[in-house]
Structure formats: structure tokens, C-alpha cells
């Protein structure tokens, strides 16, 4: 498919130079390199986002530790499962 659409990017001269250098090092045009970076990083979460998301899992596990209907034996089994990931 013909690539006819354009995207304007506002950068400082230093940033533009850096982008050109990075593209050259990868033997790509600036357009190819920019798209390559977008595709490779699409959907990737930052560490901050991953940890923030993990709080929901932590709340569930901590709630199970406090659950009055669960025996101490069951809570120890939950602990053993967590230990495997430390």
C-alpha cells in the first residue's frame, strides 16, 4: 500500500539530529525508524504501570490472608505459592 499520509513531529534541533543518527545506525529512513520504534513499544507497560496494576492482585491475596473462613493451613498454602515468585 502506498504510504501517502504524513505526520508532523515537532522536535528541537538536537532531538532531530539524534533521531536521524539513530535511524542511520539501524540503516533505516527516519520514517521507517520512527514506525519501527512505535510498533516495538506498542502495548508495553512501564514499570510504574505494572506495579500499579499489581496492587489489585495484592489486595486479593491480602484479603485471602485475612479471610475468617480460611484456615491457617490454607493461608500457609497461599504463602507457599507466593514464595515461589520471590
Amino acid at each position: 500500500m502506498k504510504k501517502s499520509k504524513r505526520v508532523d513531529l515537532r522536535l528541537t534541533p538536537e532531538e532531530k539530529q539524534f533521531l536521524k543518527q539513530q535511524a542511520q545506525e539501524q540503516d533505516m529512513t527516519v520514517s521507517e525508524y520512527t514506525w519501527h520504534c512505535i510498533i516495538n513499544n506498542a502495548g508495553k507497560k512501564t514499570h510504574e504501570q505494572q506495579i500499579t496494576d499489581s496492587l489489585a492482585e495484592n489486595r486479593i491475596l491480602n484479603a485471602l490472608l485475612l479471610h475468617p473462613d480460611l484456615s491457617n493451613k490454607t493461608k500457609k498454602i497461599i504463602t507457599e505459592e507466593i514464595k515461589q515468585y520471590v
Partner: protein
């Protein structure tokens, strides 16, 4: 000796294996929990703590805090775990924390390992001053919840 003691272990905790030592030690106990980590294959909890240091926009020598809470007499497991979760939750908005309940020995111990680096890159590190405020608050909270018990904060 007071009924409840919050004991902060002295030490710089600036060595490369500080996370391994503290979290490795805590995770050997009978009951384990915390905030700010997920249980996934390929990236251990210790590595998740280390990543906060790498991602932080702040620098500092201390990597982790270790403190524990001891009780003069035996308590119910559920009551102790409630204190664990309540205390860990105080740090959870900014700092990763792992807790454990240790029932070996005569007196129960609650252990806490708190990352000195926030998982938010722009949040300052858990300095002596900030940690001091947290610990004082924990002491106040426990004193209010258990008015018949004496609660002391000790650095040793």
C-alpha cells in the same frame, strides 16, 4: 518491656544484595503478603523491587528498609495478619512492601521490607525523615487501636 515493640534494624542496607537479603529473609516466614509486586514467571519479586531503583529519578544509597514488630505475648494469627496488612497498606500508594508473620519462637514477629525507592519515578526516596514519620504514625495507630497496650518505637 512494652507490649508491642516496633524495632527498626540499624544498617545502611546499601549493599548490592540488600534486596535479596531482606526479602529473602522475610519470605522464609510462615505467612507472606505485601503490596507492589506481582507473582509472574520470569520476573521475581526481588527483581521488581530492583526495577524501582533503576527507574527512579532520585538517587540514594539505601535500597530497602527492614523493621519488625514484636509482641510480648501470643496473639491470634488473624489479628497479627490484620496489623501486617494495615501497616503495609500505608506504604502501598508509593512504595513496594513485603510483610511476613513469624510464629517461631516465643513471641510473634511481624517483618516488613519496604523499598526505599518508589515505583513512581518522580516520588522521592524513602529517606530517614520520611520513614521516621511513617513509623511514628504506625506507633500512634497501634496505640489507638490497642489502648491497653504499650507501644514503643526502637532503633537498634
Amino acid at each position: 518491656m512494652s507490649d508491642i515493640q516496633i524495632i527498626v534494624t540499624k544498617g545502611a542496607y546499601d549493599n548490592d544484595d540488600a534486596y535479596n537479603c531482606v526479602l529473602g529473609y522475610i519470605s522464609q516466614k510462615a505467612y507472606l503478603g505485601g503490596y507492589g509486586f506481582c507473582c509472574i514467571p520470569g520476573l521475581s519479586v526481588i527483581e521488581q523491587f530492583k526495577k524501582s531503583e533503576t527507574a527512579s529519578n532520585y538517587s540514594g544509597s539505601r535500597k530497602v528498609w527492614h523493621f519488625y514488630v514484636t509482641f510480648l505475648e501470643a496473639w491470634k494469627v488473624t489479628a497479627l495478619l490484620e496489623i501486617c496488612v494495615q501497616t503495609a497498606k500505608l506504604f502501598s500508594a508509593d512504595y513496594q512492601v513485603m510483610f511476613a508473620l513469624d510464629l517461631e519462637g516465643r513471641e510473634p514477629h511481624l517483618h516488613f521490607g519496604v523499598n526505599a525507592f518508589s515505583y513512581h519515578p518522580d516520588t522521592p526516596i524513602l529517606s530517614d525523615k520520611i520513614m521516621g514519620k511513617y513509623l511514628k504514625y504506625i506507633q500512634t495507630l497501634l496505640s489507638q487501636q490497642y489502648p491497653n497496650k504499650t507501644v514503643t518505637l526502637i532503633f537498634k
